[in-house]
Amino acid sequence: MANYSTSEFRSGMKVMLDGDPCSILDNEFVKPGKGQAFNRVKLRNLRTGRQWERTFKSGETLEGADVMDRVMEYLYADSEFWYFMESDTFEQYQADAAAIGDSHLWLKENETCDVTLYNGAPLSVAPPNFVELEIVETDPGLKGDTATGGTKPARLSTGAVVKVPLFISTGEVVRVDTRTGEYQSRASKS
């Protein structure tokens, strides 16, 4: 990969830092009139998700990281891997537990996800912002109770546990915001 100098750093650029691929979020040139020039760079470590600021001497270089974002269809999982397919090339990829992280809680077969590839292998997987999943276990629904605003835990088909209103029953399909893990509504009937 090419090397990039601090003056070339742009938001969205992927670089290698301390052995991990990182995404540049922001790059600020800092220079006292009579002092040394620095670049204060906001980064996200794409492996751990950690965001932080690193200061470089202006003119330092970093190696570019072979990182690509792809839209893929989630196929299935076995005991070790989660399998995804690029819909235009039909090429399949397997993601391990480290790459999946908590995303497995929201993966539904045939849904499209954003998969980040590093050196050709999945590095991280982002599910859609909203998914519709079936409730496999919750306390019996309280018929007609739509007003009190109470909630109860419900286990979804993926294993995720979300808080749902008291009137929701096992077997219903609910819409969940995957970024917060919060119940949104009953799924729209299809």
Partner: protein, 317 residues
Amino acid sequence: MHWQPAANLGAIRQRAALLATLRRFFAARDVLEVETPLLCSQGITDPQIEPFVLSQGAALTAPRFLQTSPEYAMKRVLAAFGEPIFQIARAFRNGELGARHNPEFSLLEWYRPGFDHHQLMDEVADLVQECLGARPLEKFSYRQLFLERLAIDPFTASIAELETLARRHLDPGDLTGDRDLWLDLLMSHVLEPALGDGCYCFIYDYPTSQAALARIVAAADVRVGQRFELYVDGVELANGYCELTDAAEQRRRFERDNAVRRERGLSERAVDEYLLAALEHGLPECSGVALGIDRLLMLATGASRIQDVLAFDWQRC
């Protein structure tokens, strides 16, 4: 392609009004406006500043440098005539590009024979009040500032202590450097953002290694460079000196700059013999200051990026 100006008409009008205010300010004080060349045969030795070099042109017998500040030429005028002078000039610094830096920018620079740096700070405060309105003044020596805000003595702390402190506040990775690198990091990353919050904040009397062209004097138990900076809303706005007038000392500083350039693998630069000859002739005891006009306009308009106050910034010209 952006053919349109980066600044809106309001900012362009405000620049015109600001320039008129500056000229009125100096006319009322009998400070003479001068113009000096932008394209000079001599560059500067400062290891932190890179000039643009012009090497093609029928009139050239040697490469010329776009001035990084009008300082040397103005000091030659001062040595010849001894009058208080000011200049509104373009200056150029290669590689300085960011939210507060444009490689081509406007400087207001002025010199006051007979003033020490404290008298000049008073005049800078008067000028800034006139442009940006009244605010309280704050003044700290560089040492006082570090002692009060970071509980460390910038003159006596070891490099290891400065580095440890800097690493508590920010992540410099595997950065290495001398004492001034850690001081610059602490100043620019930790202290500067809070300086001049609701006031005009002057910092003065710097470590001798950061004296630049300021006179160095003994103060209490340390020697200090009689340099000052003005900060407003976390923005470095002006840099001034009680000026060095000793030609031999000036030559030593140029040579020390070149030694630093050699250590860092930068090419050496010829020293400006014109300036040294003027100092030999005699520069009156004086203080001088340079103030960033674009940054002054940013503060006046509330712009957060220098591009917003330039008709055409670096990307559009």
